[in-house]
Symmetry: C2
Subunit: 231 residues, 2 copies
DNA sequence: CGCTAATTGCGATCACCGTTCGCAATTAAG
DNA sequence: CTTAATTGCGAACGGTGATCGCAATTAGCG
């Protein structure tokens, strides 16, 4: 197991110097897994499923990826490459807001992403590039280093959480929504019971009128302002 | 399948009117599952494991719970019962801040909770009671109903995300930390590569000096203020 | 009292999962 | 041309959620 020594995906060379040419690539596998996740949800991304989708045996995938978790890590970093990091505004707050909007778009394109981002931070090169850009946007701000990191982390967290809320109340393509789908009948019964008057009243107002763009911008801007990021 | 008709856990009567007395209870099962999750992490909470821990056969659990997801739902609502909803301050912001602090404590007691809260909202009676209390804290605030709900949702989301960050950088009892454990070597190498100067600089500052209590209070208070909650 | 009908506990089983092992086939280097 | 490393992968292992069918138990009713 010579070339596979590093426990780290990103330190491991993709191609060995000896032996037959690999018939697949890390990138191809990640792309295939990504398509499956986008179409059928993250649970559908099993080793066997991905392997079959690229015409490989199940065990063969382990030549490219050490574990299923590593596959997910690859997927996350691949998607992190969708950021356009050069773009941005003048003031720090504008730049971060821009990044947040991009993040929101990415999470909408890949509905499986938001939960993962909150659970396990990605550490691949693309993710690091994003992090660098975000921290770099704070270079003119007088804040201790760790505070900057915390700010960026909370920014991502807020974005993920907001998108999660959006996806939960969205019609959903039938793949990801299922969570609280069947529990609705109990909800209406509970609300009619009179035990939760304020809740019922709050829900009486019609569903949010679709201007969630401004809501998002407002929340993020507000957080950044409070965190001491000028804009 | 007469009494099991309702697809909803909370609408289903626990005890049937006919037949032998159940040897266990929904509550007992939830408690057992809870202990396992607290001790060994959520992945250890399998149907068989929980069944064995209460001296029951695996298939027997399905007499009390329709699926594994439902078990988790039970766990979440059980833990939601740990809130002290009567306590609270004068102003709306104080009340919500109080709830947020309680939520943070609960998530620290049950490290598996934070990720779940962000992924799937709980809908059990205890969770609804919490929601009612939170929305009720906003009764004097002039805000449309949906906006109040959104505020409360974001409050929970921010709390979960913050706790998640805390737990990630905590020593961890060995059960939940493992996420980005082995990926550290690549991180240091990447930082030394010079490709991420701002990131490296930001990480040079010593780790956050433990005053995360004020950090949390500050972030939440700031968000609430921005959301239009007087305090 | 005894019968009926519903419900419980659960062993066996299915399909699927991540992962490991061993081996034939392939290839670059010496 | 030999050698050593690497690839692809069928088969298997242990564990998962879930279903089925059956014996045992029990409340209500005639």
């Amino acid at each position: 197991m010579a070339a596979h020594d590093p426990t780290d995906v990103w330190r491991r060379p993709e191609r060995a110097t000896v032996g037959p040419k690999p018939e697949h690539s890390r990138n191809g596998i990640a792309t295939a897994a990504l398509r499956i996740a986008d179409d059928e949800g993250l649970p559908a991304v099993s080793i066997r499923r991905v392997a079959a989708s690229i015409g490989a045996g199940a065990a063969s995938l382990y030549r490219y990826v050490k574990s299923h978790d590593e596959l997910v890590e690859l997927m996350m970093d691949t998607v992190a490459g969708e950021y356009h990091l050069e773009a941005g505004g003048e003031h720090p707050r504008e730049k971060l807001l821009n990044l947040a909007h991009q993040g929101r778009d990415i999470m909408h394109r890949h509905p499986w992403l938001a939960p993962l981002l909150l659970t396990r931070p990605s550490m691949g090169p693309n993710s690091l590039r994003y992090l660098e850009a975000a921290v770099s946007a704070l270079s003119t701000v007088d804040l201790p280093g760790p505070a900057k990191l915390q700010t960026v982390a909370m920014l991502s967290a807020i974005t993920s959480a907001f998108v999660q809320n959006e996806l939960a109340s969205a019609p959903g393509s039938g793949a990801v929504d299922g969570a609280a789908a069947g529990r609705v009948p109990y909800l209406v019964e509970a609300l009619h019971s009179g035990d939760y008057p304020h809740l019922a009243a709050a829900m009486a107002g019609q569903a949010h009128s679709g201007h969630s763009d401004e809501q998002f911008a407002g929340i993020v801007a507000n957080y950044l302002a409070g965190a001491g990021v000028p804009g």
